[in-house]
Subunit: 216 residues, 4 copies
DNA sequence: TATGAATGAGTATTCATTCAT
DNA sequence: CATGAATGAATACTCATTCAT
């Protein structure tokens, strides 16, 4: 959706603009994020932004897409590296740990995830969330299916409910340590990745019956 | 936190201001919601708002609190009227149905719930979410404890995980039918309360093992 | 100029309003000083101020007058207590020291002096300065005349120039220690009364020929 | 301190904005001077002012600096043109006359001088007065030193006291004819430059012993 | 293709004053 | 006589977007 001009830009400038935009939009969200600020901090002219993108929303959507893609690729890589010989529960724990570690190490990506998740306006949200969700599902769904076929998950588990559960838990785990009021019970707020691990264990253990093969 | 002036106002005006504010803040959120607009639509002078509240945040926080209180009271009332002689699963279904019906019938309250849930700014979020969470927990926690003691929930279920699950499911069910991108799997978006019921059933069924007493 | 209502007020309230007003107007000047703030901090209704004074300017003028009167009375008292058997130069030093000490001990009066001195608007200034000047002159002029007749001042000194000099030096000495940029040469800014004394000596010594009787 | 945009502006517009600002700030001072008014009267958009200056204080400070510089340059030129073969007293008279004439002919500069001199707020005053004082001193100090070395001033005169006297007399002479309550004794208020001259003579004569070489 | 000046409606908030109670 | 609610114009400042260069 960016103009052709954007893609003809040299990589350094493109990366700089993108990083500044992630910081600005990630910190303030779509409507409060300022194009003036982004242009200033990226060291480009205000007008140039409009040579690269037709308007603010297109710019925001592009940044969101880019971030979703990065998160997805990196997580795909990490998940592919995990041990699938272990039981499902251990694998799930590893996935959640990789996820929370990634989020801890990538504050800009995490902030953009929040900016998209916390967007109130439906017309903006719809532009932004759908592609993000596709990215997530393309990682989650095949994995769950594989585990199912391998017999790591109880046969009568509803795959849609499992996937929905994942779609709720992932942003929760990603953001609860950094945003107020998301988790008044387990107290993830302010915890380091290491300190989050016992909570992740507790969650997985509590949900075990949902997926666990009976009798194992 | 509002000024004494606010509470001395005649009820009609207070209600009018509150309703307009719910619509404005609920539709646009804290930062994009305009005090000018609220004053105009409520038919009062811009300056008057500042006789009632010291600043925008205090105003927003008040509206949130008020809405939380209303939701909580009404839900408490509805839940108290439910049949507790039935199994937990039936009761839970009833609760979720009451909840989604309430949300369908109260678009302003629902919108404010979203405005608070989708607030990105931590300093505003913290002002607003903590009290809301307290309200929710004061309804959820005692109910779960009672069911537990009554033996309606499996004895080894982790109460914190159950409560956290509820805290995730409630806003999900409330908002997913009205906000884009919240639910890419079960497709609640756009459904009427009646159409939401099968999805609720599916969710509860899928999660059954988490709470169900084995062998029942 | 205040209404009769003001004078019928009990002394405590009157004093409280006056003190708060001195602090507010003294700190912010006429135009930036806020009647809302004064009313709030004095614990009276906003409307009441307008029962006591017809408008803001009348209020400000009253406070200025009151302060001028207090300063004048106290300074008259202090000057009357000084030793007039000593040479004029010693007496003058004593007067300036009394003055700077009084100003150090009475920050509210000093601030109001500044508020009146620094007022830019002629229409307000004229209301406020003339009476203040009368107060000053009624202390300065008779003293100078007496010293002249007693032969403590050289006979050919121009009394108007002497008085004008006093009228410049008094606010300068009063305010230079507390306001930026008034004294870039002698560096009174920030000095305690004790630290101001050598500067006062220097000033008087430097100006000695203006008044000193030749040959003494 | 203005932005680069300001300096890239065409001279005509810059001069227009500056003149309007001098009139507004000079008439009403920093805090009461309105940026809205300046923009409207200069025929530019409100937002444009903020392209030129980051905020109101920076704008005000710039105008003050500019005015100080102009006054200083013009006065330096005039003083350099004076006859230094005459006695000091005659030279001093000429300086004061040039000064008061300049002020009579340049109401905008005079008004800004007053706006800076009458500013109550220390944080603004300090920004504005220090540079102004430097300008004054750079004219006054070398002149006095030169006269001293040439023997035109009595050798035992305290140069700091002389300079301080000048720093008090200059604004006094500049503003007393135009501002109420500055001069209740010599009655400069309302006088034309020609009418001010006898008063200047009187002042200089009255202060003669301070500088005059004894026996001349 | 990049620039950056210009715009004008928008923001939250403050103010002195009025006047019905 | 005291109260305090109401007012609406005022404030500095920000914004996404346009467009001539």
């Amino acid at each position: 959706m960016p103009t052709s001009t954007w893609f003809r830009l040299n990589v350094g400038k493109r990366e700089r603009v993108l990083e500044v935009a992630m910081r600005e939009f990630g910190g303030l969200g779509y409507s409060s994020g300022s194009l003036n600020t982004i242009a200033r901090e990226a060291g480009i002219a205000k007008g140039s932004l409009f040579q690269y993108f037709n308007d603010k929303l297109e710019f925001f959507a592009y940044v969101c897409d880019e971030v979703s893609r990065r998160i997805r690729e990196e997580m795909q890589r990490r998940i592919d590296a995990l041990d699938v010989a272990q039981p499902f529960e251990g694998w799930l724990f590893d996935v959640f740990c990789e996820w929370t570690e990634y989020m801890a190490e990538h504050p800009l990506e995490r902030a953009m995830l929040a900016a998209a998740d916390f967007e109130l306006d439906n017309s903006i949200r719809s532009v932004v969330r759908d592609t993000a969700n596709q990215h997530y599902l393309q990682v989650i769904s095949p994995s769950l299916r594989a585990w199912r076929e391998r017999g790591g998950i109880r046969g009568d588990a509803d795959p849609d409910v499992l996937a929905s559960l994942m779609m709720m838990l992932l942003p929760f785990l990603a953001l609860a340590p950094y945003y107020e009021g998301l988790d008044p019970i387990l107290n993830l707020r302010g915890r380091t990745p290491a300190e989050q691990r016992p909570v992740i264990r507790q969650l997985i253990a509590g949900l075990r019956p949902v997926y666990a093969v009976p009798g194992t």
